[in-house]
């Protein structure tokens, strides 16, 4: 192993700086890009699925776009009658609206339902009520962002009913998750904003009791849990065919919407991988530079008997260590970068939470191209 130390000794310190800096910038920005796309892909799931509760099944309508689904409360209740393992069912009306030219999501939910979905407390004003048909509640963060307080009026225009709604803010809540960026209203008012009739909702969130098997709920809707991975979400889409309702199960809302236009969910995966591969192609040049910066020293070692392959293997090993060390750095930096960029969609901040698959895809792709770059340059190249 003496040769390993010899090669390490002859590598210039500037190589570490160049390789680490270039790879750090490349992986951070690539991670930020992919996690942004990932967040956008999962946005509707973040809105529909209760945050912090993994054991829930969401029932929605078979719609072509977010916020357009309609399901019948009666149809869901009929299916779930006597079902075991159900802790509670929360019906919600989700709508999109415009306040002062900005798009915002309006969530209609009963107070009991909201308490089942998330824990919150009243910071100012009144607690959420089910009866006030012109009242709305907002989070402390949204109140600050929109400059609203208890007693303020907001004029909300709904694209579904083509008429305005004047609402009064009745309470400011300490609430997290997606609810912190929405207008929370009584479910009947949300139906008016969405243009829905009584007995209709956008989604039903079926909360499972701790340890309950979700396949029991899925079976009630005649869908199999075999189509889902163990840790995948379960979204049941109901489609009315005449008097019959035919359900289908999906792992995310985006998958459902993509399926409606004839695209398989793997299309998104393919796009993600294509972006990772395309963007990290530049690492090939970093690999080239790692050899060229040390060409003279490595050439001397080669002349005294070190095979070129071994010298390059050491460089590739160093890059691997650098890439692995960059994993937490890139994920943290990309998070800070996106947070600093302050991007929002429908009022929700695009924070870009990095999942393990994205991080590994980025680093594997970056490493592969850097290693290829190391292999492509000859030590005695002029």
């Amino acid at each position: 192993m003496g040769w390993l130390l010899e090669v390490l000794r002859c590598i210039k310190p500037s190589t570490y700086a160049v390789v680490l800096l270039s790879l750090a910038l490349m992986t951070t920005l690539l991670t930020a890009n992919l996690s942004l796309l990932h967040t956008l892909y999962n946005l509707y799931d973040e809105i529909a699925f209760p945050s912090g509760r993994s054991s829930a099944v969401v029932v929605t309508g078979f719609s072509v776009a977010p916020f357009t689904s309609i399901i019948s409360v009666g149809a869901v209740e009929q299916r779930l009658r006597g079902a075991g393992g159900v802790y509670g069912v929360v019906y919600e009306v989700l709508s999109i609206a415009s306040i002062d030219g900005s798009a915002i999501v309006v969530r209609g939910v009963r107070r009991e339902g909201l308490r089942l979905l998330t824990s919150y407390s009243v910071a100012e004003g009144e607690d959420v009520s089910d009866d006030c048909m012109y009242c709305a509640w907002i989070s402390t963060r949204l109140a600050e962002r929109l400059g609203l307080g208890v007693g303020s009026y907001v004029v909300l225009h709904s694209p579904f009913t083509a008429k305005p709604f004047v609402l009064q803010i009745r309470g400011v809540l300490r609430i997290g998750g997606p609810y912190a960026h929405e207008l929370i209203v009584p479910i009947d008012l949300a139906r008016a904003i969405r243009g829905m009739g009584r007995g209709q909702v956008s989604i039903a969130v079926v909360l499972l009791a701790p340890g309950a098997d979700r396949s029991l709920v899925l079976r009630r809707f005649n869908v199999s849990s075999e189509e889902l991975g163990l840790f995948e979400k379960a979204l049941i889409a109901l489609r009315a065919r005449g008097k019959r309702i035919s359900p289908a199960v999906y792992t995310s809302a985006a998958e459902l919407f993509m399926a409606r236009i004839g695209l398989h969910r793997d299309v998104f995966l393919a796009v993600t991988i294509a972006i990772a591969v395309l963007t990290s192609a530049g690492c090939y040049i970093v690999g080239n530079a790692a050899v060229l910066l040390n060409r003279e020293n490595l050439y001397v070692l080669h002349v005294v008997g070190l095979p070129k392959r071994r010298a390059k293997a050491v460089l590739a090993l160093l890059v691997l260590v650098a890439v692995l060390a960059l994993l937490p750095v890139a994920t943290q930096l990309s998070k800070h970068l996106l947070s600093a960029a302050g991007l929002r969609i429908l009022g929700y901040p695009l924070t870009g939470d990095v999942d393990m698959f994205t991080a590994l895809a980025v680093l594997a792709s970056a490493y592969l191209f850097t290693a290829m770059g190391i292999c492509a340059v000859d030590i005695d190249e002029g």
Partner: protein, 342 residues
């Protein structure tokens, strides 16, 4: 040997031309292709893709955007299609009961009813001239009907009394509201309810979504370009190393090192400009190819735009400026070891 001011310029142009040709003839091009074409093509795909999606989305929502709707406006848009309205929450007293309701105070009840399409369920029994219409949900919940006495108070001191003259229909929002032909001097929302030719809510939502997505894609494109800044620097260093023969010839014919350095920077910047344009074309081609592939899967893309001149100009300026600055830094190696930095 070049002498004088004209000679210096000629030597500079000569060096730049020689190195420019050298970049395109030799292996130096491969590194620059990766460093410039990949980010410019990726940025083009991102920017063009989002534009395509925006056009597609706008086309899909156009029928909804054009539908007439009612809007609140602080300013009077059109006297014929607007009616003055103020809205405020009030305490309502009737038959010994006190409850809260949203009250629409209108100057002209008839015009308001006509403009908003208010459906009256029952009317009559008004002993005064003030029209007061109560939503059917309120009427049912509190036992109100035409002729019922009613007092509406905004705060403690601003109250007016009258009789219910109408009960109107509507959804849970309108069905729980009161519409009264009373002048307003309160603290709620005041303005005009107007009938608009289109649906500004849909328009603003589509616009807001489009702006958010465009901002996101601009950030993605910019971060791709930024990620390639060090790569471009390394690629220029590699290009310089590959131009060793050309630089040797230039020095042997007496071209000053300073002229070779500036010539290298100019040649690199020009090469990067051309490669950026090439990258933009590749990006546009890839986007259109994807749209064509989607058609095979049954997704019809209505319009396939080409990159806007300002997008091409921005990419060209950013990448060429970066190449110029970096090649000036790299060119300091001329006269020493190509990777040695001296």
């Amino acid at each position: 040997m070049y002498t004088g001011r004209g000679g210096a310029l000629r030597s500079l142009i000569g060096a730049a031309a020689t190195l420019f040709i050298g970049i395109f003839r030799g292996g130096a091009l491969a590194a620059l292709l990766i460093a410039v074409v990949v980010p410019s093509a990726t940025a083009t795909v991102l920017l063009l893709g989002v534009e395509m999606l925006y056009i597609q989305g706008s086309a899909a929502t156009e029928p909804y955007v054009e539908r007439p709707s009612l809007v609140y406006s602080e300013a009077l848009l059109d006297r014929a299609r607007c009616v003055e309205v103020a809205v405020e929450s009030a305490a309502v007293k009737s038959g010994g009961e006190v409850f809260e309701a949203l009250v629409f105070l209108v100057g002209d009840f008839g015009r308001y009813a006509e403009l908003s399409g208010l459906r009256i369920a029952s009317s009559g029994g008004g002993r005064g001239s003030t029209a007061i219409s109560v939503g059917w949900l309120l009427a049912r919940g509190h036992g109100l009907e035409p002729g019922s006495p009613i007092t509406i108070c905004f705060g403690r001191h601003r109250c007016f009394s009258g009789y219910v003259t109408h009960v109107h229909r509507g959804d849970s929002y309108l069905g729980s509201a009161i519409i009264a032909a009373v002048p307003w001097q309160g603290a709620g929302v005041s303005g005009y309810l107007c009938r608009a030719g289109g649906n500004p809510a849909m328009e603003s939502i589509v616009g807001s979504l489009g702006a958010s997505t465009a901002a996101m894609m601009r950030l993605l494109a910019l971060s791709t370009l930024l990620a390639y800044v060090p790569v471009q620097y390394l690629a220029l260093g590699r290009a310089l190393a590959m131009l060793g023969a050309e630089i040797g010839v230039l020095r042997s014919v007496g071209v000053p090192i300073r002229a070779i350095r500036i010539g290298f920077a100019a040649a690199s910047a020009a090469a990067c400009l051309l490669l950026t344009l090439y990258g933009v074309s590749i990006g546009a081609l890839l986007t259109h190819l994807s749209a064509w592939l989607l058609r095979l899967l049954g997704v019809v893309i209505v319009e396939k735009p080409l990159p806007q001149p300002h997008v091409i100009a921005s990419l060209a300026v950013l990448l060429t400026a970066a190449a110029l600055a970096e090649s000036l830094a790299v060119s300091r190696r001329i006269g020493g070891s190509p990777w040695g930095g001296s």
